[in-house]
Every structure is written in structure tokens, then in C-alpha cells.
């Protein structure tokens, strides 16, 4: 079981390993849409059927904050982007909507250029991720005075289980 050298931060190499492990896990799981690895290519948008909208989620490594970041965009069946308000009403859990809207640029859903596609994507700001990942483990039991940390195998899944549901990832 491999552990991050400097938990809660990941090096790019550690992120690569963690992400690929996560993808294998998601392929084996039968109850969710599998994730896939895309190496910097431009991504085609799969058009949704009438009356549905598609959401693309990307997990991207932040070189500055050394943690994963969740980027996403939502498209109508005609390919047009959902508006800010439509994103809130369709993706964000009703109980969390006010919290997020008032969180300012820390916790709010805001837009940023996608790092490789250079197009506007919504994202959850990563500056609180390290704190989140630390608080997850400090709540768990101490084992022989050594604080448990999350392995690379479990890192993405744990992280995603906290940030994902906020924006509709099940």
C-alpha cells in the first residue's frame, strides 16, 4: 500500500498513480459511470438526448496547490452551456446552495480556464482541499500514536466522496 510522502499534498507522480488506481476501481464498480484517463487531448462533448443535459467532470492535478481539483461543465442537448443559475439549481444539493453562494471565491463554484483545454469550466477552488484531507484523517482513530493517512489507492475516492456530491457526483 503506497502512501503519499507529504500528505495531504500529492506530487504529480503520486497524483498519476492515485488517479489511475481510482479509474481501475471505477471500472470494476457496477454502480457508477466509469472515469477515464485523457492525456491533454481535446475532448469531444457527447451530446445528450433531448430533455437531458450532460455534465463533464474532470479531475485535474493542481501544480500550485498539489491536490486534485474538480472541474466540470454542463451542456444542454443542443450543446449550449447551462447558465450559472441553472448549474446551481440542477447540480448543487438544495441544502448546500446558500452556503456555496455565500462562500466567496474560497468554496463557491466559480469559473476558470480549464488548464489544457483553455475553455471556461466551473471548478471547486482547491485552497481548502489540504485542510479537508487533513481533517478527514484526524477524525479517525490514532493507531499506535501514528496518525493514519490515506493511501494513494484511497486518496481520490475519499476526496471525491466529499467534494463530488456538492456538485452532483454520485
Amino acid at each position: 500500500m503506497s502512501l503519499p510522502d507529504n500528505y495531504p499534498f500529492l506530487t504529480r507522480k503520486e497524483f498519476d498513480i492515485a488517479a489511475k488506481l481510482f479509474i481501475e476501481q471505477s471500472k470494476r464498480s457496477s454502480d457508477e459511470e466509469p472515469w477515464s484517463w485523457v492525456e491533454h487531448e481535446s475532448l469531444p462533448t457527447v451530446p445528450a438526448s433531448e430533455g437531458y443535459f450532460t455534465v463533464d467532470y474532470h479531475i485535474i492535478y493542481s501544480t500550485s496547490y498539489k491536490v486534485p481539483v474538480l472541474y466540470f461543465n454542463a451542456y444542454n442537448s443542443d450543446g449550449t452551456l447551462l447558465t450559472n443559475d441553472e448549474i446551481y439549481s440542477n447540480l448543487v444539493h438544495p441544502l448546500k446552495q446558500n452556503d456555496i453562494k455565500s462562500a466567496g471565491f474560497h468554496g463557491a463554484i466559480s469559473q476558470q480556464d480549464h488548464p489544457t483545454l483553455l475553455l471556461p469550466f466551473y471548478y471547486l477552488h482547491p485552497c481548502e482541499t489540504a485542510t479537508l484531507m487533513t481533517s478527514i484523517v484526524s477524525d479517525s482513530k490514532m493507531n499506535n500514536n501514528k496518525l493514519q493517512i490515506i493511501s494513494l489507492e484511497g486518496y481520490i475516492r475519499s476526496w471525491l466522496s466529499f467534494v463530488g456530491p456538492v456538485v452532483g457526483v454520485k
Partner: protein, 289 residues
């Protein structure tokens, strides 16, 4: 605390670009402009952002009988058909979109012709602007990221008093050097501590992804790296050596604030003296002539 009297940061702060704003002609007709509308000229600070000028630009065109009653956030700008990213500093956009090399024989393309649009905001290409608030959010976000890169945490920025944090933005939009730099100085000088990483973003032509990697200011032996060392490390094909090339005009060059900085300058010095107000070095790499 008074701002340090640094002639270089002062010169960068004072740097401006004459910009000629013209209406998109089909939109002009659709929005009720009866005759040809004269363009609007602004001497814009290189360190500023387009949304800070939008209400002034809007007022001019509305006074010229344009029937526009929408939001400032609906207004956007393009150069040669490419929408301008409003969250990039104006000087960076100029260096990037004109690709003008200061060492070339021709004069710089000035005034910079920019088209103003009041309709059809390209939501697939531009981040939606909530006008000035969003610009301030982005600006502070960059300052926090710079702090994180330098120190491994955003404690320094977060520990600034609310007053000081506001003063950074206020100083920027009111073009008050002393107001801005009296707070920014503390962030940039970093108590004399060597930063862990340098806040730097490198832009290549043709819509390449922006290069933002954690750059250490020193090598394994603790020697300070130069700008040339960093460019050689990040773009070894374009900069095969940290030293200037023999054939200057054929070689790629870094451009920032419309100048070509010398490759020999220490990167820490560059970070403290040549950064934009958001604390980042935004360096455009232009290829050989």
C-alpha cells in the same frame, strides 16, 4: 508603512497602452447607432483589467446614441476575432495577442485596435463576467496562489487585515501606487525569506496551454537560478541554454510588460521587481523573427 521607492516597480505600475475601442459594425446598426460611431481612445494601464474600464467605455458609446440597456457583464472585447480573456492583465493580453517583439525593427502596433461587443457574449470561450466583483475575486485568488507558491500556505495573505486586503484591490483600481505597494511589499519581499517556489506563468503563442509548474528559485546546491535557467528548465527546446543565443533575432525571447528582460537576472529578483500586481510573473515567449 510607506511604499518602497523602487524605480522599476514604479515604471511598471505607470506603464500604459493607448487602446482604440471600436464598435462591431453589425451590432452598432442593430443597437440603433444611426451614423458611424467614432472609436473611443483610452490610455490604459498595462497592469489593469478590461472590466475596470467597461463602464467608462459603455458610457461613451451610449452617449453616442447606442441603445444598450444590458449589464456591464454582457460587454466583451475581441482582437482579430479572438475574444479577450478579461481576467488577464491588459499588458499581458497586448504582449500575447500582438506577438510584438521589442527587438524588431518595426514600431509597436499602437494604438491597439480592440472591438467592443454589447451582444452575443461567447459563453463557450469566455468566463462569464460579473463585472468588477469577479475581477476582484480573480485578482485576490491569484495573490493567494502566489502566496501559496512562495510559502506553502496562504497564511500570509489570510493574516492581512481585512483593511489591508481591500487596500490591495483599491490601490489597483484607483491607480494609487503607494496604496497598493505599501501592502504588496510585505507579500513580495516575504520577510527576506527565499520563496519555496516562484509564482510564474509562461505563455506560448497559438493558444498553447499556459505553463505553470512549481519553479524553485535555487538549484540543488542552493545557488540562485536566473531567468535563463528557468526558461531552459521549462522549455529546453526553445531555450537550449540558460545564456542568450548568438543569433538574437532568430532565437525565442521572453517578453514581459513589453520589454525583453535579460536572461541573466536572478529569478527571485525578477519575481519581486517585474511581477504584475497579482504577484505573478506573466511571461510571454515569442518565437524567432
Amino acid at each position: 508603512m510607506t511604499a518602497p521607492q523602487n524605480p522599476i516597480t514604479r515604471a511598471i505600475w505607470d506603464g500604459t497602452l493607448p487602446i482604440k475601442f471600436s464598435l462591431d459594425s453589425t451590432e452598432a446598426a442593430a443597437l440603433g447607432a444611426k451614423a458611424i460611431v467614432e472609436p473611443y481612445f483610452i490610455e490604459a494601464p498595462r497592469c489593469s483589467y478590461f472590466p475596470l474600464w467597461t463602464s467608462q467605455i459603455r458610457k461613451y458609446f451610449v452617449d453616442m446614441a447606442l441603445n444598450f440597456i444590458g449589464d456591464d457583464a454582457d460587454i466583451w472585447y475581441d482582437v482579430d476575432g479572438t475574444p479577450l480573456k478579461w481576467h488577464y492583465p491588459i499588458g499581458l493580453l497586448y504582449d500575447l495577442h500582438t506577438g510584438y517583439r521589442p527587438d524588431s525593427n518595426s514600431p509597436p502596433p499602437l494604438p491597439w485596435p480592440v472591438t467592443v461587443h454589447f451582444k452575443n457574449f461567447p459563453t463557450d470561450k469566455l468566463i462569464r463576467a460579473q463585472a468588477i466583483d469577479a475581477t476582484q475575486d480573480f485578482f485576490m485568488s491569484m495573490i493567494k496562489e502566489a502566496d501559496f507558491l512562495r510559502n506553502g500556505s496562504t497564511k500570509k495573505v489570510m493574516n492581512l487585515s481585512k483593511n489591508d486586503q481591500t487596500q490591495l484591490w483599491d490601490g489597483l483600481w484607483s491607480k494609487n501606487y503607494d496604496r497598493f505597494w505599501s501592502v504588496n511589499y510585505r507579500l513580495v519581499i516575504n520577510d527576506g525569506q527565499m520563496p519555496k517556489h516562484i509564482p510564474i506563468r509562461i505563455y506560448l503563442p497559438d493558444n498553447c496551454p499556459v505553463i505553470q509548474e512549481p519553479i524553485s528559485p535555487v538549484d540543488e546546491n542552493g545557488n540562485q537560478l536566473t531567468l535563463g535557467d528557468v526558461l531552459h528548465q521549462v522549455l529546453p527546446e526553445l531555450f537550449p541554454s540558460p545564456l542568450p543565443s548568438e543569433n538574437a533575432s532568430a532565437a525565442p525571447v521572453p517578453v514581459i510588460h513589453g520589454i525583453i528582460p535579460q536572461l541573466e537576472i536572478p529569478i527571485v529578483w525578477a519575481s519581486q521587481n517585474l511581477c504584475y500586481p497579482d504577484n505573478f510573473l506573466h511571461i510571454v515567449v515569442l518565437l524567432g523573427i
